[in-house]
Symmetry: C2
Subunit: 364 residues, 2 copies
């Protein structure tokens, strides 16, 4: 039962119109240029005129029209952000980091989600480019293999900074975590807990971060004298966005003749997807199987208090990426030296007990 009101506006089509420099000029009997200069506290303007202009401006709450400014300055003071999903702790935290820097710099942040679709990512980028953003922060989708869309804009001079899911073929600033070491330490931790057949549930194979994470995992196994079994590495093409994908991977792993005794999940959605699968199939952690996963959600701790996780400095990554982007945008000359900033992950250990009761899975 909707209820109705009469709008306060009396005049028809009275639009939300702000006061302009012209209005001030007219009201004060000055020229627009004088007002403009007074506003910018130019040395050429008399103290008295400045006073008058500033007062009037304050009274009528004058704000320069950013669109007119953009047209003139050829910059929109807005940057685009493309991530797969904002409903993902890692990315929403990263966005917070981006936002905090942007806010201080007076920049707008326009967020787009690719929903792990390459097609959507291309559309998003088109959209953002057509909105004349001054720069782009992107963590590519799992599907993204062809990077022509990014390359083209980058060549045209659009400042781009990659974070997390970087691509190697575009030369610009990048912000990642030390995925190799993070995965190495995580895997090592599982090994030290007594697990012998550790499966790796990981992201799309094409992603740079996936490759790095898998390398860390393999190295840890090798260093511990354990065999690497490619069949225990499961790549999820949609990064766990679709639960069915995780279910399929897990079914595959657990129906293997030599079932794994632990799972190492290397993404937020994969870790929770895994837990979801376990719940559905009444598998408990760590009684039935070991689990260690990447996670940035505050809830993982609640999900399973005995779950050791790899936490990424998401906020800091966002901050750093945005800082680097601002650096490119604000530099007068084209930037020629690009850096890849590597931050460290945190291994938050919560599983105090050792692996003990996995025999039934192992023996079967």
């Amino acid at each position: 039962m909707p209820y109705f009101y009469w709008h306060l506006t009396l005049e028809p089509c009275m639009k939300f119109e702000a006061i302009t420099i012209k209005d001030i000029a007219k009201a004060l009997g000055l020229s627009t240029s004088t007002v403009s200069r007074a506003m910018r506290d130019s040395y050429e303007i008399s103290a008295e005129t400045k006073q008058r202009v500033l007062e009037y401006a304050k009274e009528f709450n004058y704000r320069p029209n950013p669109i007119a400014l953009s047209l003139k300055e050829k910059r929109s003071r807005s940057i685009g952000v493309i991530v797969c999903e904002i409903a993902n702790s890692f990315f929403s935290q990263a966005i917070n980091g981006i936002e905090s820097v942007a806010y201080n710099k007076g920049y707008n942040v326009i967020i787009s989600q690719s929903h792990e679709s390459y097609e959507r990512e291309v559309l998003d980028l088109q959209f953002l480019a057509s909105r004349s953003i001054d720069g782009l922060l992107i963590s590519v989708s799992t599907e993204t293999k062809n990077i022509e869309h990014l390359q083209k804009l980058h060549n045209k001079g659009l400042p781009i900074v990659f974070f997390d899911r970087i691509v190697s073929d575009i030369h610009t600033h990048k912000v990642i975590v030390d995925n190799f070491t993070g995965s190495y330490n995580a895997t090592k931790h599982l090994i030290e807990k007594g697990y012998k057949r550790i499966a790796n549930l990981t992201n799309a194979e094409g992603l740079f971060i996936t490759q790095d994470r898998v390398l860390g995992y393999k190295k840890a196994l090798k260093d511990a004298g354990l065999l690497v079994n490619e069949q225990l590495i499961k790549y999820c093409d949609h990064g766990g966005l679709i639960q069915a994908e995780v279910d399929a991977a897990m079914n595959d792993l657990l129906s293997h003749k030599n079932k794994p005794d632990a799972i190492f999940a290397t993404a937020d959605k994969l870790t929770t997807g895994c837990l979801q699968y376990f719940k559905k199939n009444k598998i408990t952690v760590p009684k039935d199987i070991g689990l260690l996963g990447f996670s940035n959600s505050d809830l993982t701790e609640l999900l399973n208090p005995a779950l050791t996780i790899v936490k990424q400095p998401a906020f800091e990554m966002g901050e750093k990426a945005m800082q680097l982007l601002m650096q490119i945008i604000e530099s007068k000359r084209p930037v020629k030296e690009f850096e890849t900033v590597t931050l460290n992950t945190d291994l938050i250990v919560r599983d105090s007990t050792n692996c003990n009761s996995n025999k039934k899975l192992l023996k079967k």
Copy 2:
């Protein structure tokens, strides 16, 4: 150890410059107006000229400069969204709904977070207004009591649609859920499970939704012949954004001489905050105490499989709010009839067993 690259750009200061209508005109020996009209497929232009222009435009990937368009049309084709936090399932889902509509309409969405701070909300709004947004979608912060900042812009003609945390004194479209019925049914459910002393952990007292939710809770108690005890209603001024606040409320409730046997938490963050508290204090649900909460997180199910929740149609709320906003923006004449759309919540029942073992809490 950052590594360095040389940028591909050779010429100094080569800026990311797009092709303009002027360039096309010059190249084709036409005037800008002819090109402009050809682009908009005007009837005045000869088929041949159109052909030439369109081909050239396609070849050089011409895109009209949205900023110039904005300046001319006095609309930026971007709308502002203010929520407390995007790292909150309810809001990120709502944003997805908003985004889906915006995308189809060719609109930009600029997201700002108030982080439950009134001051920040005012700043966000100033920022957005200064970016000349065409409309605003807002769910106010818990701190927001004074709505002058919104009122002023609304009076100036800025289209605003409220969703979820609406304010009553501004006459415009609003989208909410039926909080009263949602809370009523949830409380009723707890009562039917056998709980007798149901506490209500709820949001800031000033919020409209809080009041509605409390009313539903009270009505259910009364209808069941149970007494309403104001001491069992705990208002959280920051909506659970700060865990300490939840902890304090829970400590208070549980140190009461007549401890509650169940908690009804009426917000995403309050529900998870509650679970966090329980975990810290080794209280299990529903063995030690009953719990039912509002939640939109996919993880709640995992958190406690026996947890019945109230789920809000967040995506649909976002969609609907954006549709209403577009309606205002696109209407030629000022909108005079405003509706308050009310959607229904879902009670997702998961606690199959009845209340049974709460005696120790009750008896103490």
